[in-house]
Amino acid sequence: MPYQEATELVRAFRQGDQQAFNRLVTLYQRKIYNLALGYVKQEDEAKDLAQDIFVTVFRQIDKLKDETKFGAWLYQLAINHCRNRYQKLRRRGFFSNQSLDDPETGLNLSSGATPEKEYERQNTSRLVRAAIASLAPAEKEVILLRDLQELSYEEISEILDLPMGTVKSKLNRARLALKNRLKHYL
């Protein structure tokens, strides 16, 4: 992630450059969208959640004290949004009928892929994502941040406000839990 570019964009945005905000969204939208998807599992819901996150960024950018820490601040904000949305959807029973074997979208062949291989790849991807989504919130968070978002332990430690040793042990437990969920498919 081009942190220097992000810092300059934040500075410009704060000075009133709306295009800088658009550029920030472009830089981070894929990461934030996938983080949201990891929580709510459903694409429309994830899109809505990601939009709400960036709306909050727009409204509360002045709360960011250190422009070089925009990434960590954005993730903290995003995780708070994701947690709240997850709880809200869970209370509504949004996740109660979902299982690891739920079929979702149809088969989309990428170039050069045979239908069988592509089916297997997409099926595996769906299963793994579903298994991650089914983890307890605290476990899911560390997996999403480390294994999917590819953040460093230092970054995760800063975002979650936890000592690095705690992050590692949480991550280990989460990975073991995920392994157990995927046991039948391994």
Binding site: V25, R30, N34, F58, V128, I143, L186
Partner: protein, 269 residues
């Protein structure tokens, strides 16, 4: 090395960050423990599966949607954002106290003995077109203080002291200073005058027969929860007695139609 300790080191093992001695101990354990060796293989497979996941592309309309939401936010949303940003918080007892003080202040300011309208009187609907030069008042006339209450049987506030209604408001809005359950804020207050115990019991029987929920606060003060759709039945029961009802709008069967259940505080005198 115990199995639980071995498995707690899997992430460090995968990251290649174990100290030399720990690495040797773990490796020896995995060579000798079939279960942990299987666990480690499955752990690696799980990591490989996760790391092979391709991030999904974000929707193309994500940014336009953000701007659409920003444009939609109106005055109240922005005000709410400001309030949220202040991290303003208020404890429930403090909020209840502020609400109660505001209610009582408003109630006491409005209370004054004035002639009350007959609750069964209805104004004829306006018919016909405007006459030339006729002026229609566009500003709503201020409600008379007497319109706060509806009184049955042609009674007036002078005949029927409404202080008990104020007492009912106090009793049902003030947070309790003991462990008594917190009371719901009633939608309407009723004062029933000159009722003996037998008729009171009869009234309660009728309410319970209709499956309305009745709560006794004390011997003279009760709360009743009834479906809004049965408000007309409630009026019918009240009309057998001498009563005052606050607010006056509660005499309409459509009162509180935005709720499924209404709460009435009933004081007997």
């Amino acid at each position: 090395m115990q199995c639980t300790e071995a498995r707690s080191l899997f992430t460090d093992f995968a990251d290649n960050t174990l100290a030399r001695q720990e690495l040797h101990t773990l490796t020896d354990h995995l060579l000798g423990c079939r279960d942990c060796a299987l666990e480690w293989r499955e752990f690696q497979q799980t990591l490989n599966l996760m790391h092979s996941l391709e991030p999904q592309a974000s929707p193309p309309d994500l940014l336009p949607g953000i701007h659409a939401k920003l444009a939609q936010k109106g005055v109240f949303s922005r005000a709410w954002d400001v309030i949220e940003s202040l991290n303003f918080s208020l404890s429930i007892p403090a909020a209840a106290a502020i609400f109660t003080i505001a209610m009582i202040a408003g109630f006491l300011l409005k209370t004054s003995p004035m002639e009350q309208p007959d609750i069964f009187h209805t104004r004829a609907a306006r018919t016909g077109t405007l006459q030339q030069g006729e002026i229609i008042a566009t500003r709503r006339a201020p409600a008379e203080a007497g319109n706060m209450f509806a009184v049955s049987h042609g009674g007036t506030p002078q005949d029927m002291s409404l202080m008990p209604l104020a007492q009912t408001a106090l009793a049902t809005h003030l947070p309790p200073d003991n462990d008594a359950p917190r009371l719901l804020s009633p939608d309407m207050h009723v004062l029933i005058e000159n009722i003996d115990r037998a008729h009171q019991a009869g009234l309660f029987r009728e309410m319970l027969h209709r499956n309305w929920h009745l709560h006794r606060i004390n011997s003279d003060l009760f709360l009743v929860h009834l479906p809004q759709a049965e408000l007309g039945d409630f009026h019918a029961l009240l009309s057998r007695h001498r009563f005052a009802l606050m607010p006056a709008a509660a005499v309409e069967s459509r009162f509180g139609s935005d709720k499924e259940v209404l709460t009435a505080a009933i004081r007997f005198q």
